[in-house]
């Protein structure tokens, strides 16, 4: 208590605001150090425990900052660091919560999933370095830091996808992910250079200032913005850079799929939100350059394509991969429903809240796949037949995730989708909400197939499930309880999200 008082009376130095990123990075280094003591042994509980503890510690610090108002208007506004290259504000802290809690769930689940693998220390270290990159992505305030942190998040991800070295699918997925990733990085970097050519700066506020003064190179600017947008489309698995996602999510170890489809996607949105809102404010765009329109097209195409592709899958993991593309489309509403004088903070906040809820339900769903893979059950819907009778608790949790992803009450996904569509209507984009609602109704079809297989179809295999792995169960049940509790506790989430989003405009 006295320590806390001391902290409050003497404010922390500014650099302490990046503490969540520092904690993640240091935990990653610590893991490497521990692993180097005895590289041949794989003491998974210790490694997973440290990784989980580090993530949770970063989560707690970010949560504490958010409650204390660090970087928000009440305590003097955003904290700029390193010559404005990084900025800590409410939004970056909110997204940090998503990355760290997903990293924690993935770490604890990996303890069982990787129990027979080598190089476990490296695995957890890579997860934490990727998470560090994501936190920095949400804090970046310059196109240069955005690019560097995006690479910091991406490079470990490539290695993680290919972690199962003797599994063909894993390697293929990693290669595909890496090639498309490299391509989109190049496009992104080229876009940055074009924007620099048009505005003469990389810092978001300076770019915005240059735009307000007018630019003679509208075409170059527009081209640059479109290319930057392509870079984000890759990171968030949105059309047209979504091709890697089904393969990568299907081939990767399931906990890594969970990590990529929840945290990495959210990171893409975090940096996209900041770049487009801070650097290219709607009110200061030159005529003919309209990124809102681009995002509207992307949102509609992404959610529709993701949903229809998901409906045709026979493989559960692949279905979830496409559903994750569909959800990227919903989250894009956060940028697509912005307008010059609209309730922009509400729209953006709703999208952020949806990403948080999605972090729980989608991570949980992929971790259930990890559990099923751990047992050696197959990957198609039919292989899931009758699992409900064999593993009721995990199956209940999976049903919760499926219903919540479909947006059915009484789960968190219901509120987050509702608020998202509601805010789109409020902003005057009722057609966007209508497309979202129709897609959401369609999605019930393929989500309910999983539930039907788990509980209703008769068990045809004689497979005996092995032991009940503690780590995977803990993570899955934690995610399920989180998904459930986010319904009654949605008020603080949405209020925080909309408050911190308001600071951007």
């Amino acid at each position: 208590m006295s320590a806390l008082l001391a902290l409050q009376s003497s404010p922390l130095p500014d650099w302490a605001a990046v503490a969540p990123a520092l904690i993640l990075a240091l935990t990653g280094l610590l893991l490497l150090a521990i692993d180097s003591i005895n590289p041949t042994s794989s003491n998974s509980p210790v490694l997973a425990g440290i990784s989980t503890a580090g993530s949770l510690f970063a989560f707690a610090v970010a949560g504490w900052f958010l409650i204390e108002g660090t970087g928000q208007a009440a305590t003097g506004g955003e904290i700029s660091l390193y010559g404005d290259a990084l900025v800590v504000d409410g939004m970056s802290l909110f997204f940090t919560l998503i990355f760290t809690i997903v990293a924690a769930m993935v770490s604890i689940a990996s303890m069982d999933y990787l129990s027979k693998q080598r190089y476990q220390g490296e695995f957890y270290a890579l997860v934490l370095f990727a998470a560090t990159g994501m936190v920095l992505m949400s804090m970046s305030n310059s196109l240069a830091t955005a690019f560097v942190s995006l690479e910091l998040a991406s490079l470990p991800s490539y290695a993680l996808v290919g972690f199962l070295k003797d599994n063909k699918g894993s390697i293929e997925a990693a290669l595909k992910y890496f090639l498309i990733g490299a391509l989109s990085s190049a496009v992104f970097a080229f876009g940055i250079s074009l924007v620099y050519a048009a505005t003469g700066s990389l810092l978001f506020p300076d770019v915005a200032r240059a735009l307000s003064g007018g630019t003679g190179m509208t075409g170059v600017l527009g081209m640059g913005m479109l290319m930057i947008l392509g870079g984000f489309a890759f990171k968030t698995a949105s059309v047209p850079f979504h091709f890697w996602a089904p393969e990568a999510y299907e081939g990767a170890p399931a906990p890594v799929s969970a990590f990529l489809s929840s945290a990495s996607k959210a990171a893409g949105f975090a940096v996209a939100f900041r770049v487009f809102i801070e650097a290219f404010p709607i009110t200061q765009l030159p005529a003919g350059v309209d990124w809102v329109l681009a995002f509207q097209i992307l949102a509609v195409v992404t959610m529709t394509l993701g949903n229809f592709a998901a409906a045709t899958q026979e493989n559960v993991k692949r279905m979830l991969a496409y559903s994750s593309i569909g959800h990227a489309g919903y989250a894009l509403i956060g940028l697509a429903a912005l307008s010059a004088n609209g309730p922009n903070a509400n729209v953006l906040g709703a999208s952020m809240a949806h990403l948080l809820v999605y972090g729980f339900m989608n991570t949980g769903a992929f971790l259930f796949i990890a559990l099923v893979e751990h047992w050696g059950v197959g990957r198609t819907f039919e292989d899931y037949n009758g699992l409900g009778a064999k593993a009721p608790m995990a199956s209940v949790a999976m049903s919760v995730f499926m219903f919540s992803l479909a947006g059915l009450p009484p789960f968190g996904g219901f509120f987050s989708k509702y608020v998202l569509f509601y805010s789109a209507i409020e902003a005057g984009f009722w057609w966007l909400a209508a497309v979202g609602a129709i897609n959401s109704a369609l999605s019930l079809f393929y989500y309910s197939r999983v539930v039907k297989a788990l509980w209703i179809e008769d068990d045809t295999s004689s497979l005996e499930l092995g032991s009940k792995p503690v780590g995977l169960y803990t993570a899955i049940l934690f995610a399920a309880v989180g998904t459930l509790l986010l319904l009654p506790a949605f008020r603080p989430v949405i209020e925080t999200a909309q408050t911190v989003a308001a600071a951007l405009f």
Partner: protein, 509 residues
């Protein structure tokens, strides 16, 4: 806090039963489900609401606080009871326990999951009847579907998967239509409402605050929303021609699920029609009186004729539910004390009687493993107690005086005859009354062929009297049917109090 306690107890009971071993799950669930009964009966004894909860009446056991704030439209956790919902809460708690006990014999696999789902459904049903905020209500309304889907899909008959998915798809699409209709109304009300609380919306709608929305003017919007909501709720009731999911779901569902489906889930539809369409938009309802009354009469007659044509005992009872729900619609559209009050009373009465009938058919099926009328005769010889209660219940269905069915139907007919909403109401009523004749026809026919005459049974099962715990719920239900028939005022007084405000402000009736 009583209502929250009631719902929470049911949720916790569901969780406890879900993780309990299969051998004890049934007994444990029955014991735990007594707690909500005690709670609801206590609330009934302490009930002090007057008037209609939506129209400014005082609300019993009210809780109201802001759950989340959404750009000008707050979502409240707002629950409470009035004279319309109180009887339905009591019905839900009692019927759940009896249905659980009736499941002891037929359910022999994955018991803990079965009973867990039953209690989970009870918790959500209690939420549906107590919620007074649209959002809270909608959450519970949708959540009721999930356990029902599993109950039919896992423990049902041979075509259970088809029946379960048909039920789920029908009711979900219906919910979507209703949701869109209602939300359009809320948007049309604009700034005149600041929350999703039903009383606030009802008052604003009746106060003429509705503006246009999405290119429709106020009148067209109201009509469109009324129709969308009527269709949405009509699927649940069900009204002809939206009833086709019901026979499939009933026939495939295990007996206890059928009891809940007919006894309580169908009442969600009529309850919602009364709360939303008929309370909030009486002017539209009265403008549409001819089509609605026509739908009611068609449901009554067509349902009864279909029942007449069935060979499966369960199908007979299922179609007769369609017929009985037609009476409820007729009572609602009459807009008289006895009409609307009788319709509400009939919801409870029909819940008890149809529960009794489904259970009786289930008990016979447990022994004979067939429900086909032609496969057996003279069952009364071997199962005298069950058959006796079956006969008594059937007479209740036909509307024998001093039984609850008589009181409900009598009120409805009295109210509908006296109604002045349309000159042709007496004609519609007379046509609907003809349904009673058909009901008597098919029930007597079915009983004569299965229960009476010389004993004949082609199956290889021994036909003997059912166990005590199978017959006891039947006896309790029969007792309740008679009690409510002798003393309808147990509920009818509070119902009347809650119903009258609807009529007073509903166009001078």
């Amino acid at each position: 806090m009583l209502i929250e306690g009631l719902i929470a107890v049911a949720f916790v009971a569901a969780l406890v039963v879900f993780v309990s071993p299969n051998e004890y799950a049934g007994r444990l669930a029955a014991a735990l489900s007594l707690l909500p009964i005690v709670g609801s009966l206590y609330m009934w004894s302490q009930f002090d609401a007057t008037g209609n909860a939506l129209l400014g009446g005082s609300i019993a056991f009210e809780t109201d606080f802001v759950w989340l704030t959404l750009g000008g439209l707050d979502v409240h956790w707002f629950v409470g009871l009035d004279g319309i919902s109180m009887p339905l809460v009591v019905l839900t708690t009692i019927l759940t326990t009896l249905a659980i006990v009736s499941a002891w014999t037929p359910i022999d696999t994955r018991q803990s999951q079965f009973y867990g789902l039953m209690l989970f459904m009870e918790a959500n049903l209690l939420g549906v009847f107590t919620a007074l905020d649209f959002f809270v209500w909608f959450v519970f309304w949708e959540a009721v579907l999930v356990p029902m889907y599993f109950l039919v899909g896992i423990w049902g008959g041979p075509r259970r998967k088809y029946a379960a998915i048909k039920f789920f798809v029908y009711t979900n699409i219906a919910s979507l239509a209703m949701f869109i209709g209602f939300i359009a109304l809320v948007f049309g009300l604009g700034d005149s409402v600041s929350s999703m609380r039903l009383p606030e919306i009802a008052m604003a709608l009746r106060g003429g605050e509705l503006g246009g929305f999405a290119g429709l003017d106020a009148g067209a919007l109201k009509l469109a929303a009324f129709v969308a909501m009527f269709i949405g709720f009509g699927v649940k009731v069900p009204i002809v021609p939206l009833h086709t999911w019901l026979p499939d779901a009933h026939v495939e569902a295990p007996t206890p699920a059928s009891v809940m489906l007919a006894g309580v889930l169908l009442k969600m539809g009529t309850y919602a029609l009364l709360r939303f369409n008929f309370t909030m938009m009486p002017d539209v309802a009265q403008a549409l009186v001819v089509p609605i009354a026509l739908i009611a009469v068609i449901s009554v007659i067509y349902g009864a004729v279909l029942a007449l044509a069935q060979q499966d005992l369960k199908r007979i009872v299922a179609y007769s539910s369609v017929s009985s729900m037609g009476y409820v619609i007729l009572g609602l559209i009459a807009y008289t004390t006895y009409g609307v009050g009788g319709a509400t009373f009939q919801m409870v009465a029909h819940g008890l009687i149809s529960g009794l009938m489904f259970m009786a058919v289930g008990v016979i099926y447990n022994t004979t493993h067939t429900r086909m009328v032609g496969d057996m005769s003279g069952i009364a010889d071997r199962m005298p107690v069950t058959s006796g209660i079956f006969v008594a219940g059937a007479f209740g269905y036909m509307g024998l005086p001093l039984m609850a069915g008589f009181a409900g139907e009598f009120f409805i007919f009295q109210g509908a005859f006296a109604s002045t909403v349309h000159a042709a109401m007496p004609l519609f009523t007379a046509a609907a009354m003809f349904g009673i004749v058909i009901v008597a026809g098919y029930l007597l026919l079915a009983m004569q062929r299965t229960l009476f005459g010389p004993f004949r049974f082609d199956g290889e099962y021994e036909v003997t009297e059912a166990a005590f715990h199978d017959v006891a719920p039947l006896a309790v239900l029969l007792l309740l049917v008679i009690v409510l028939g002798v003393a309808p005022d147990l509920f009818f007084q509070m119902i009347q109090q809650a119903v009258n405000p609807i009529l007073q402000t509903g166009g001078g009736l």
